[in-house]
């Protein structure tokens, strides 16, 4: 009963909440010696605000954000959760076969022009096909659900969306031109870099080392269950809000593919290189004043 | 219930055609410029007018006198066509005449200048041909033509309202106590102006007043209204030409009227 509590702010129905549900269902928190508390929120921004406002101990976010916050003076730090990434999707019958074919097309992009995936796609197009996508194509930035809807009606020729949305498109019969992982590979970043992780204040981690360790252990156990058990995914169905069987399967498979296998110096260096590339591509708008990855962005206490 | 229309004792004033500037015949005969029959008019159930019957010959000047709150303004509002919610009929024996109206309060648009208040009721073509200015000058108001009504004295506002009603060259002129809150010399000037205007462009006039002297001085016929629910309680034709009605005559007629045995006249003073 005296287990330390860890409060995590999550998107209800978000991919992170699946894993946390597994932890709770199998009482992995109890086993590891902590108590997992959830604060359900409606958006990623709400989670960020909750962390800044001290309402939660931990949230899920990407490390680019953490890096920038650190550069601006916050003591946030990151441990990996998922390496699953988005993809560039086109209708099954689309003539678009590679990035080169994007010339003159309308491309839906989730988020903003400094979205990581979009920057990588632009870099790739420029490096390998001498194509300036800003000029040669028509990017349309919009909210992810809106883009999926537009892809379905054919108003867009291609859609670059986050992975849960890309999975839905795939299930709906669309085809992947290239995944963001593929883009990174083509740009010479060999190691798999987990984009999304758990983010918390260093101060909290130092004050609650046992709780943090226990959480990391529970999280890895949950991932192991999710990697092996199909039955577990059946149980998670209501949380996944999958429209149909195909979507459900696509979500499951992509989640599994994204489970990070290694988190060593190699991956961290790859991340630092990726950050350098991002700083070049996205400029100050993306990374703020820190042109190199700030020290401590990745919590040193966790590696595997 | 209709006015019993008694045959009035023939007046001791002589009749004269020039009292009726349009002179299309005697007021009783000819085409009627205004025929208003109000069988009943109610406000929220309360009957205010019952069996009121008004008929004015073209160019006739009718003065309505009667106790406060009896229904004179209500009758005028109906004659103006503003209130159709009554049991009865209104017709002009022809196309609707041009209406001029002096309301019981001046009703000037506070957000338009004095000049605009007069000009705006004119047809577009005549708005800037000097008509408004001429009438304002006649009222002694040329100096305040560009002021807003809120900056006028009570009497000045009233004169603007008169200018507005006269400027449209009305065929039917409705006036609800038009000369109150004017000093006597100004009021006399206004009455003279009205008379002159009517000579130049004859109009049928419905004129409400509490000033019996004024009624005697101006009207072709005085209608004495009963207390509410109102109707015409008595009628007094005045046959002396307006030009010949001097102070002495007015006082004499007034005394004669107040001395009449009919109870309607007891409400006059």
């Amino acid at each position: 009963a005296d287990r330390p509590a860890v409060t995590i702010g999550v998107l209800k129905f978000g991919t992170v909440s699946w894993e946390l549900d597994v932890i709770r269902h199998h009482r992995l928190d109890e086993a590891a010696g902590f108590e997992l508390k959830l604060m359900e929120l409606a958006s990623g921004q709400a989670a960020q605000i909750a962390l800044q406002g001290g309402a939660v101990d931990m949230i899920a976010s990407d490390w680019l954000w953490v890096a920038r916050q650190r550069a601006a003076g916050a003591d946030l730090t990151f441990i990996p959760h998922s390496a699953a990434v988005g993809a560039l999707m086109v209708p099954a019958t689309s003539p678009i076969a590679s990035v080169a074919d994007l010339k003159g097309r309308r491309i839906g992009v989730a988020g903003t022009p400094i979205d990581k995936s979009w920057l990588l796609l632009k870099a790739l197009a420029r490096d390998q096909y001498a194509l300036d996508l800003d000029a040669a194509a028509t990017p349309v930035f919009a909210a992810p659900p809106l883009l999926n809807q537009k892809a379905a009606t054919g108003e867009l020729d291609a859609v670059l969306n986050f992975w849960p949305y890309a999975a839905r498109l795939q299930a709906a019969g669309m085809r992947t031109v290239i995944g963001v992982d593929g883009m990174m590979r083509d740009l010479g970043l060999s190691a798999q870099v987990p984009a999304v992780g758990f983010v918390f204040h260093e101060g909290w981690a130092r004050a609650n080392p046992a709780a943090l360790d226990a959480f990391v252990a529970a999280s890895r156990k949950a991932k192991a269950i999710m990697a092996q058990s199909d039955a577990e995914w059946d149980r998670l169905r209501p949380l996944m809000k999958a429209e149909d069987e195909a979507t459900w399967a696509a979500l499951r498979d992509q989640f599994r593919a994204g489970i990070p296998q290694r988190w060593t110096e190699e991956e961290r260096e790859a991340a630092a290189r990726l950050y350098g590339l991002m700083a070049k591509l996205g400029g100050r708008e993306l990374v703020g004043n820190a042109m190199a990855l700030p020290d401590g962005t990745f919590w040193p206490g966790v590696r595997f | 219930m209709r006015t019993p229309s008694p045959s009035w004792p023939s007046s001791n004033f002589s009749s004269c055609a020039s009292c009726n500037p349009s002179s299309s015949g005697s007021p009783a005969g000819g085409r009627c410029a205004l025929r208003l029959e109000i069988r009943s008019k109610r406000f929220a159930g309360r009957e205010v007018i019952r069996g009121l019957s008004l008929a004015a010959a073209p160019g006739e000047f009718l003065a309505l006198v009667g106790p406060s709150g009896c229904g004179k303004t209500t009758a005028l509002t109906i004659a103006a066509g503003l209130d159709r919610d009554f049991d009865g009929t209104l017709d002009f024996g022809g196309p609707e005449p041009v209406l001029g109206c002096v309301f019981q309060t001046p009703r000037l648009l506070p957000w338009r200048t004095v000049r605009q208040n007069v000009a705006l009721v004119l047809p577009k073509a005549r708005r800037s041909d000097g008509t408004a200015e001429r009438w304002l000058a006649a009222m002694g108001l040329e100096a305040v033509a560009d002021e807003f009504p809120g900056r006028l004295s009570g009497g000045m506002a009233r004169r603007v309202a008169l200018a507005r009603a006269f400027a449209v060259e009305p065929g039917l002129l409705l006036m609800d106590e038009p000369f109150v809150s004017l000093d006597e010399p100004t009021a006399q000037r206004m009455r003279a102006l009205l008379t002159t205007m009517l000579e130049r462009s004859p109009a049928t006039v419905l004129f409400v007043t509490h000033n019996l002297r004024e009624a005697i001085q101006l009207a072709d016929r005085i209608l004495v209204m009963a207390p509410g629910p109102t109707r015409v309680a008595a009628e007094v034709p005045l046959k002396t030409p307006r030009a010949l009605r001097d102070d002495a005559l007015v006082e004499r007629v007034r005394a004669e009227l107040l001395a009449r045995p009919d109870p309607a006249f007891r409400l006059l003073a």
Partner: protein
């Protein structure tokens, strides 16, 4: 009389009919028809989620509404009557009027934590400048002749406010209340999106992520029904009572 009672029904029928036709024509998940929305509504009502979230949102709105209307109208009347105050704080009004809701909400949450008070306060702060603007305008338009009358008879300040000023401000209060309810509703949605774990805003956003327009519309319909009820049972009777004195006008 009959027409009077029939009109709202007709109006509703027409609206729902048009909606059904539009949905039929669109034949898309992005505009579900009334039947689809109704079935979601019934489902949500059955499992209690509807009443839970709607109740919480309405409670937040009520608190914010009361705060915003009372502070806003006091300030509005003050700025409307005192040229000095207006000269001093007119600029502040422009500033607070135009601070993005997002900024206020984030600052409230960061400073005061993710609490009910922060949420309600953020909504109220967003709405107050609006009330001030409307009531300042109304106060400036007050007819001075009645104020002069009151001053001549040396009426007490409180009586002047109650019997001379406020009655002239009724239409402005009505406008501020109606558009205010709508504005507060829109802001409460954002507030719940950014830092609450319940309420209609929270729920609507979840549906948005699934692109489940039927779910969004179900909650919208439920809220609109509540507002319309309020309109019919509170706002309109009160307004009618307060404007009873106006001359009944023939239809123009």
């Amino acid at each position: 009389m009959r027409w009077r009672r029939l009109a709202p029904v007709l109006s509703l029928a027409l609206l729902v009919g048009l909606w059904a036709v539009a949905a039929e024509l669109a034949a898309s998940r992005s505009l579900p028809g009334p039947a689809a929305v109704l079935s979601v509504l019934i489902r949500e009502a059955a499992d209690g989620a509807l009443f839970h979230h709607l109740g919480i949102t309405l409670a937040r709105m009520a608190a914010a509404f009361v705060i915003a209307m009372s502070i806003g109208s006091a300030l509005g009347i003050l700025l409307g009557r005192s040229a000095t105050a207006d000269r001093l704080f007119g600029l502040w009004l422009t500033v607070f009027l135009n601070i993005p809701a997002l900024v206020v909400i984030v600052l409230a949450y960061v400073w005061f934590g993710l609490t009910e008070a922060a949420a309600v306060g953020a909504v109220a702060v967003n709405k107050i400048p609006n009330v001030v603007v409307v009531l300042r305008e109304g106060t400036r338009a007050i007819d001075e002749q009645y104020v002069e009358m009151a001053r001549t008879f040396r009426m007490a300040r409180s009586d002047v406010l109650r019997h001379v000023l406020l009655p002239q401000l009724t239409p402005y209060f009505a406008a501020a209340a109606r558009s205010g309810l709508a504005l507060i509703w829109k802001i409460v949605l954002v507030v719940e999106l950014l830092g609450r774990s319940d309420g209609v805003g929270f729920q609507i956003h979840l549906y948005f992520q699934m692109f489940d327009v039927a779910g969004i519309l179900a909650y919208t319909v439920a809220f609109v029904a509540v507002v319309q009820l309020l309109e019919l049972c509170v706002l309109q009777p009160v307004e009618q009572r307060l404007t009873r004195w106006r001359p009944v006008r023939a239809e123009a």
